[in-house]
């Protein structure tokens, strides 16, 4: 028999073991300068395998990316903190609502709040995100009305999508949030198409694609990178590497590759890897990448390095496949705790103000939740409009659908 053996990648730790992140290398803050905007893919290797960081372990911000940001106002950072706190309060309340049977499904973005919240605040009106189901933080930081957001989750008459979509699969064109599909990967390449149309129409807008580490395995991830490389459209392609794809560790999708950012370099697309739990790094790199893309330097890939602290969804129990306490052991910490500590260190925040802000935001969420629940929940459903399923299948309802609607009794 031959000695040839297959490889089956494993996570660093399983449920019966202690969390182990010793394989993760965290370069010091300031190890990577801000590159010139016309940097080419082949010069990006250090950025693709390194990690851009701004907030140090002592909660101070420094290094070239901090210099690039310049003086960041206390208001900007407090806004960021409030966005993230609101996001977390919303996630917790909606998880509870699902547990109480008030909605069918929910999915949190705990630990990943900095990425969407920081990124969204750098976009302009008219830019379009192509999010996954875990990018609700983009909506929150776009100041999307909570009533519409929760209406979608409750599938009641406040739902802008009329109960057609699974909770969390939002669509909000005016807020730069493309209709979310459940099929992984498909929308990454659509973002490239949208960006090509922006360039062809000369409207100055950009598109941004979002994908999880697991879904980088999909064909469409590669289709997107190839198309972006070929046509050089104004698109920022984000990879949210949160270490897990349901029960499957990121090692399975990564294979022998170095990082997801490094994958882009083979296509000649510049790529950076960033500490996604560092709100200031998110601000700096998003601003740089979005500016670069908007000013015609072509596509860019950003790998946001983070950790999925919560379960995959309400249908999942992570204790069956990953080490207990992994989220707490994550070496890059929690994005809210870190930004809060930074603001306090700057003298622009305090424990008291934090507690007060948390309470205010929770109250805002709870108030809206009450209103939204008065329009019906899964426990107390209000009659939906069943015949609506026939609307919007086509621009004009064809005769066979009319007949079926009548058959339904409407």
């Amino acid at each position: 028999m031959s000695e040839v053996k297959l490889s089956f990648p494993h996570p660093p730790a399983r449920p019966d073991q202690a969390p182990d992140f010793s394989n993760i290398e965290i370069p010091p803050v300031g190890s990577l300068p801000v590159p010139s905007m016309d940097i080419e893919g082949h010069d990006c290797w250090p950025y693709a395998v390194g990690m851009i960081r701004v907030l140090d372990d002592d909660n101070t911000a420094h290094g070239p990316w901090a210099d690039y940001l310049g003086e960041v106002s206390a208001d900007t950072l407090r806004q960021g903190l409030r966005d993230m706190l609101k996001m977390r309060a919303l996630d917790r309340r909606m998880l509870n609502a699902q547990r109480q049977g008030k909605t069918s499904f929910y999915l949190q973005c705990t630990g990943e709040e900095a990425i969407g919240c920081g990124f969204q605040r750098q976009l302009e009106q008219g830019d379009m995100n192509f999010p996954t189901y875990r990018q609700q933080s983009l909506l929150v930081a776009a100041d999307y009305p909570l009533e519409a957001l929760m209406g979608q989750l409750y599938s009641n008459d406040l739902d802008p999508l009329k109960g057609r979509q699974l909770p969390i699969m939002h669509s909000a064109r005016d807020y730069g949030y493309f209709s979310v599909s459940g099929n992984l990967g498909t929308q990454y390449v659509q973002a490239v198409g949208w960006a090509m149309a922006c360039a062809l129409r000369g409207n100055g807008k950009i598109a941004t694609g979002w994908i999880g580490d697991g879904a980088t395995a999909s064909n469409d991830f590669h289709s997107a990178l190839l198309s972006a490389s070929t046509y050089q459209p104004p698109v920022v392609l984000n990879v949210v590497n949160n270490q897990w794809a349901i029960s499957t560790n990121t090692a399975v999708a990564r294979g022998k590759g170095d990082t997801y950012a490094a994958r882009a370099l083979g296509y000649g697309v510049p790529a950076l890897r960033v500490d996604g739990n560092d709100y200031l790094a998110v601000l700096a790199v998003s601003r740089w990448a979005i500016d670069r893309t908007r000013s015609g330097h072509g596509p860019i890939v950003i790998e946001w390095f983070t950790y999925r602290a919560a379960a995959h969804s309400t249908s999942d129990d992570p204790s069956a496949y990953r080490a207990k306490g992994e989220a707490e052991a994550w070496p890059l910490g929690d994005p809210i705790t870190r930004l809060k500590a930074h603001l306090i260190a700057r003298g622009d925040w305090s424990e008291e103000r934090h507690v007060q802000a948390e309470a205010e935001l929770l109250d805002e969420v709870v108030q809206v939740q009450k209103t939204v629940e008065s329009h019906g929940t899964f426990v107390k459903p209000k009659p939906t409009a069943p015949a609506d399923i026939f609307n919007g299948v086509y621009a004009e309802m064809p005769p066979h659908l009319r007949r079926q609607r009548q058959e339904m009794g409407h």
């Binding site: 089956f8 064909n219 999708a253 939906t384 609506d388």
Partner: protein
């Protein structure tokens, strides 16, 4: 005999097959260590090792493409697509490659593999966890398509599918995984342990592919159906030469059209009324309006009355 849910029956089918035949191999997204999001493969990796039961990256065309290569080499892959709604990236591999390999190579290469996937609605899964794409496979020459309705059939059919020399698409009605479903989503659900078809032999047996089961004999009306709709239909039928076809999938070009064509070719002169068809509506599967979309007992009864009156 043991009492099994459909999930346990499917797991037992894979277990028996892995045990009997070293060329059987099981893989897919989350199926290895964790045992699948519906737990159909739970414990199998522990028992047979990760060379025989393993996790794949999220790439359905890779899952099926790898299975085609392995099957051609002489193995018997039984792979899982997490939801039938996610098989589309693999559609090329299934319909253009697996289905045709035997014929186009004049039998130099064959493709004995099974592609398992949960199908159908009834779990508030919205449009990407509820579809019934069987007609997209039955339309393709070279494929066999299986949809079981009981744990007993699920196990026997899956073993038969794994042992079959050709590619089999194995669609598992997820609404039946834990118990039969009689169409009343707000009522108490019955577990398989309380249903005679939950009696499943522990060892090896097969249920032949391509044969219909008579769920209830009678002489007034014939109801043709499969999957979840077997129970919903059974509940609606009070009495049985008149024919009604029921399926959950959308109507236009659905498999029901094929069944109706078959029936009228064989029985045209015996039919006393036009054949009625009860199906999902020709709209994307909705989330909130699921129970208005899903073919109800009321709709089936109405159709039965119509054929009886005509």
């Amino acid at each position: 005999m043991a009492r099994m849910t459909m999930i346990e029956a499917l797991r037992s089918a894979m277990d028996v097959s892995l045990e009997r035949d070293p060329s059987v191999i099981v893989f897919g997204e989350d199926v290895g260590y964790f045992g699948g999001v519906f737990r159909c493969t739970a414990g199998l990796q522990k028992k047979y090792g990760e060379e025989r039961v393993f996790d794949t990256p999220i790439n359905e065309s890779a899952i099926v493409g790898l299975a085609v290569g392995m099957a051609a080499q002489g193995m018997k892959p039984c792979v899982e697509i997490q939801f039938a709604d996610y098989m589309f990236p693999a559609y090329d591999q299934i319909t253009q490659e697996a289905a045709r390999l035997r014929h186009r190579s004049n039998e130099q290469f064959t493709c004995p593999m099974v592609v398992r996937m949960p199908t159908g609605g009834g779990i508030f899964g919205g449009q990407t966890h509820s579809q019934s794409p069987e007609a997209l496979f039955t339309h393709v020459a070279g494929l066999k398509v299986v949809i079981p309705a009981t744990p007993y059939d699920a196990k026997g059919l899956l073993i038969a599918a794994i042992e079959d020399p050709d590619p089999v698409i194995f669609l598992e009605p997820k609404r039946l995984y834990n118990g039969p479903f009689y169409g009343d989503h707000s009522g108490k659900s019955v577990p398989w342990s309380a249903h005679p078809a939950g009696e499943v032999p522990e060892g090896h047996y097969t249920v032949p592919l391509g044969k219909a089961a008579v769920v209830r004999a009678g002489s007034d009306v014939t109801v043709l159906t499969y999957g979840t709709m077997v129970y919903v239909t059974e509940a609606a039928v009070k009495e049985t030469g008149r024919c009604v076809v029921v399926h959950e999938a959308t109507r236009t070009s659905g498999f029901g059209a094929e069944l109706i064509a078959e029936v009228q070719e064989a029985c045209f002169w015996h039919l006393r009324a036009p054949i009625q068809r009860i199906t999902g509506w020709d709209a994307p599967y909705p989330h909130a309006q699921e129970w208005d979309y899903f073919p109800s007992t009321a709709r089936i009864s109405r159709a039965l009355n119509t054929v009886m009156e005509d």
